[in-house]
Each structure stands twice: as C-alpha cells, then as structure tokens.
C-alpha cells in the first residue's frame, strides 16, 4: 500500500503514483506526474486526487439548494448546487428524543414520561485534498460555496409606488430577510436524498499537509503565480445537517392502515440507511397504499341560522347574501337621500321628494354598489331638472 508521502508529493517533486480511475464518465490516468484524459493532456488538472482516492472509494456528496417557496420575490444570488467527491473522515448521526418527565409523589418509583418527538442531526467531516494548484483552487471554491450554505437568504421584494391618482408611478425594491436555506443532500447509502438545513460549517486549512508555493509566472501543477495567495494541499471540512423528514416516521400511520407494526414510510427501501442489493425486512415491505381519509378541516364558519337543519347550499347562501346587500344599499340610500333632500325639501313638493327617493332606490339596486353618494346626487339632479307633475 502506498504511504502518505507517495500520495502527497512535496515541492516540485513529481508524484510517483500511477492509477486508473473513472471520473465523471471521463477516463483519467496519471503516469510519471502527467495527467492524461482520453489520450490528451488535460489542463488544468482538477479532481485528480479526489478522482483517485475519493471517487474510487466513496460516493459523491451532493448538496442542492431548494428554491424559496415564496412567490414574487427575486433571489439575491444563484442557488447553491454542489456535487463533488471528497475523502470522508467521520460520519456522525445523532437521534435525540424529546422526553419530559412528570415527577409525582414521593416514593413513586418512576415518573410519568411523555414523548414529544425524535430529531435527527448529521455531522460529516471530510478532507479535500489537492495534488495540483488547480485542484486546490477548485477545493477552495467548493469551500466558499459550502460556507454560503449557513447564511440566510435575502430577497428583493418589488413594491409599487402610487401617484396622486392611485396608479403605479414607480417600482421600488425592498430587501427583506428570507430565512434559512433548505437543501437536498445525498451521500451514498448514508444520506439518501434528505431535505435538510445546514446547521454548521467549519473550515480548516491543514497546514501540516503543506501548501503550493508561489513562483513568478503562470500557474503550473505545483506552483502558482499569485503572490500572497495561499493554496493549501488539504483542507478539512465539518458540516452539520438537521434533517427535515417529508413523511411521517414511526410504525403504522396513514399509509399503513391496519398494519401497526410496519414502518410508516411504506416504500420498498430501508430507512434511514440504504442496504443495496438485499431485500428489505418483512416489516419494511410495501403494502397497498390505502391512505386513511384526512380529518375534515373546517375552513368556514357559518351563522347559527346557516348551520340550522334547513342548511342552505353555498349558492343559496351567496344568493341570500346578495339580496341582503341590495336591501341594505337601498335602505342606506334612502336614509342618505332623505337627509340630503331635507336641504331642498322647502322648494319641493312631497310628490317630488317621493319621486326622487323612488328613483334613488331603483338606481341603487341596479348599481348594486356602495357608492351611494353619486347615485343620490344624480337622482336629485334628475328630480330638479324634471320635476314630477
């Protein structure tokens, strides 16, 4: 087995390893320090160490940001989408159950335990190693994208500014905080397409592994031309996920009606970790997906009258409400018109006033509107211009 010195070459020394691996459907091989892809020299050399070590042994880590569910907003930056090989160091998964205990009288042996739920968190530590300068830069790009995952989302919300007559005169953008980012994460059989938010990101440059030195001129595989830039040969990352499960977890449930011992998810797969080619256990096997009816959710409240045995259909209720509105409009119109007509009543006969009110009522019903003042003014103007006999 190759020792560490052979895996990470020092200085300008040519690496002595030889390997043949497949990376992203392209065939790479490295021989005497030169990387060849399908018979051609490939520059810059990226994903070599991870291609040789990472992909050969481990599945890729995929982190894909889910777009915001809010509509009508503009994202502040492109969605984060990462898919790369790395060398995992440690994988830790913590299941934390929420129990509360009620202590009762002295001498009682056990308290009463109440269960509230179980949370799941994952911490993954890994190394991004670099054989070349280009790979080191690529690793740092991955790191900065990963670091962005723990910062909140900001959005631009368009807001129309109205002019004096109420029309949109200009659009102004407000920046608002959009909360945390949600991701889909996949890492082989250990994290399988889970929805998560990222609760931790820690970056450490492993200085013991060395850095690529500066040398005037263009970048080569082992030196870079940017003075004052440090490009580590290895960085160590620790990232934490809190899993948000999309389906009910437990035994039984809506998808397992009459099967209280079976796992609630009802999919032909193991949970939480994949087991590949072997069949799932009997209690995990899918059954007919007879989903129990959801409990009825009351979304509208009715008056006592509407909830009576003579319950009306929605259409009938709407019709009754419309009639009630019309009656109210006519009544209000008459009241207002009566008050307004008082001013001109001195010069009007009772017949004129009655005619005006009749006209107001009829127009109010036609208009079916609350803009009663206009109707009244028009009606009274008609009375003045064409007084009844």
């Amino acid at each position: 087995m190759a020792n560490d010195d052979e895996l990470v070459s020092e200085g300008t020394e040519q690496p002595s390893w030889t390997a043949l691996v497949t990376v992203h459907q392209e065939r790479f091989y490295a021989e005497d320090g030169q990387i060849v892809v399908e018979g051609q020299t490939y520059e810059p050399v990226v994903n070599v160490s991870l291609g040789i070590i990472g992909e050969a042994l481990y599945p890729p880590l995929q982190i894909v940001e889910l777009p915001s569910e809010n509509t009508g907003v503009i994202q502040d930056s492109p969605l984060i989408n990462l898919d790369f090989f790395m060398i995992p160091d440690a994988f830790n998964e913590t299941f934390k159950s929420r129990w509360s205990a009620e202590d009762l009288s002295h001498g009682r042996i056990n308290p009463i335990y109440n269960y509230g739920g179980t949370e799941r968190q994952i911490t993954l530590s890994f190394t991004l190693a670099a054989f070349t300068v280009a790979e080191s830069r690529s690793n740092l790009r991955h790191c900065q994208n990963l670091a962005r995952t723990v910062y909140g989302r900001y959005r631009r919300l368009p807001r129309g500014l109205e002019d004096a007559v109420g029309s949109i005169a200009a659009t102004r953008f407000s920046t608002i905080f959009g909360g945390h980012r949600n991701f889909k994460v996949d890492f082989g059989g250990l994290i399988r397409d889970e929805t998560v938010f990222i609760n931790k990101f820690a970056f450490a440059a492993d200085m013991d592994a060395g850095v690529f030195d500066y040398s005037a001129g263009d970048d080569t595989d082992v030196t870079h031309g940017a003075r004052g830039v440090i490009l580590p040969r290895a960085v160590k990352i620790e990232i934490g996920f809190t899993v948000i499960h999309e389906s009910l977890l437990g035994f039984g449930g809506q998808k397992r009606v009459g099967e209280p011992l079976r796992w609630a998810e009802n999919r032909k797969r193991d949970w939480p970790h994949g087991t590949g080619k072997i069949d799932v256990q009997e209690y995990m096997k899918p059954t007919t997906d007879t989903i129990a009816p959801l409990p009825t959710i009351v979304t509208q409240r009715y008056t006592a009258e509407e909830a009576s045995p003579d319950f009306l259909s929605g259409e009938q209720i709407q019709s009754q409400r419309a009639q009630a509105v019309r009656r109210r409009v006519v009544s209000e119109a008459a009241t207002i018109a009566n008050a307004a007509a008082t001013a001109i009543a001195a010069s009007r006969t009772p017949a004129e006033i009655e005619a005006a009110l009749t006209s107001i009522g009829g127009r109010a019903i036609e208009a079916n509107t609350t803009n009663i003042g206009t109707v009244i003014e028009q009606a009274l103007a008609n009375v003045e211009e064409n007084p009844p006999d």
């Binding site: 599945p59 059989g189 437990g250 449930g253 939480p272 087991t275």
Partner: protein, 211 residues
C-alpha cells in the same frame, strides 16, 4: 398483519470469520425490544464505556442548632450509558448489520395511529447479559433512550469485499464501514413488583448484576 421483526445476531455464511460467531459461542449478546411493536434486534455485545448510575436525590432541611440536615429521599433515578461497536467482516454481514442498525434507529420512533397521532411511546427494553437484566431472567431493563449517536470513523477502514467498493459505488452507492459505534444514553424505568406479599414495590432482585 405482519409479525414483529426478530433480527438475531448475524448467522450467514461468513459467521465463522465474524465476531458474530464468537458472540454466539460466548453468549455475548445485547438485545433491544421496541415496546409498542415488540420488534426485536440483537447485536454481538462489543460494549465499551458501560456505566449504570443510580442517583438518589434528597430534600434537605436545616434546623437551628443542628449541624447536619434532615434528609428526605425524594427519588432514585437510574441512568445507563454504553457504546456498542458493530463490526462487519464481509459485505453480506455489513448489509445485514445495517438492517439491524436501521431497526434500532427506527425504535426511537413511536407507533402512530391512522391520523398520525403518536400512540405508542418508544420505550425500549435492553437486555445485556447479566449487566442489564430485569426482574425476570432473560428480560432486560425498559429504558427511555434520550440520545443515540451513530458514528463511523472512515480511518478504521471501509469494506472492500470481492465485489470491490468501486463496483458498489456504481451500482447502489453503498458504503459500509468495517466498524461503527453506537453510543446510547438512557434512563431506566424500574419494573414494579407484582407480588402482593411483598411490601416494597421494587422487584426483590432489583437491581441485579447477576451476583
């Protein structure tokens, strides 16, 4: 309706080279039973950091002209913690053990009714030879597991059976460590004594370490 799962220690074709064979020979087995469903799973008892703490809590009153307080025993709680190491000697065993570990992790969840309400609290009965044994021989101690940590150290090695890990990655993205650790911290629920002739509600042999 399906029967409760009863996943015993691995006994496949690689048992002879596995720690499972040794555990079976010695009777070193730790068994977990999910109380709401009676699903059960066993592992070879590669136990480290086992602690079983019985903690009394007292009320104290200090009187005038008294050096020492008047003590009132409030309650005694029992907390258990241990680390279980699961070793995989072959690909077949790794897959089987992963299903066993999956069941153990699932035991931290309750049983639920058709409307999605939690109805069966996830109490887990743990039996670990004579170290964790209930009032009845062969039965364990029912516990409330508050935290379970599942950890893989990749430096310990990953499985590279005849199929090769590269092949695994292409087919099913499977990844199996040679060893993984499961750390458990739990509070014990003390069984009650059903014998009407006994005054103490505690079982007569409680607590017992097989001495």
């Amino acid at each position: 309706m399906t029967a409760p799962a009863n996943m015993r220690v691995y006994s496949g074709q690689h048992k002879a080279i596995s720690v499972a064979g040794w555990a079976d020979n010695q009777g070193y087995v730790v068994r977990f039973v999910h109380q709401p469903t009676k699903h059960a799973v066993e592992f070879p008892a590669l136990i480290s950091d086992f602690t079983d703490t019985h903690s009394p809590s007292f009320g104290q009153e200090h009187g005038a002209n008294m050096h020492d307080p008047v003590i009132t025993l409030m309650k005694t709680t029992r907390t258990i913690s241990f680390t279980l190491t699961v070793l995989n000697a072959s690909l077949e065993e790794a897959r089987y053990n992963r299903q066993c570990v999956n069941l153990l992790l699932q035991m931290l969840y309750p049983s639920v009714d058709d409307a999605g309400n939690f109805i069966g609290k996830p109490f887990i009965n743990i039996h670990m030879m004579n170290l964790l044994e209930g009032a009845i021989s062969g039965e364990g101690v029912t516990c409330v597991i508050e935290g379970l940590d599942y950890g893989i150290k990749f430096d310990d090695g990953i499985l590279n059976a005849n199929e090769g890990v590269v092949a695994l990655n292409r087919s099913g993205k499977e990844i199996y460590p040679q060893s993984l650790e499961i750390s458990i911290s739990a509070k014990a629920i003390i069984g009650s004594n059903d014998d009407a002739n006994q005054i103490s509600p505690l079982p007569t042999n409680y607590p017992s370490y097989g001495g």
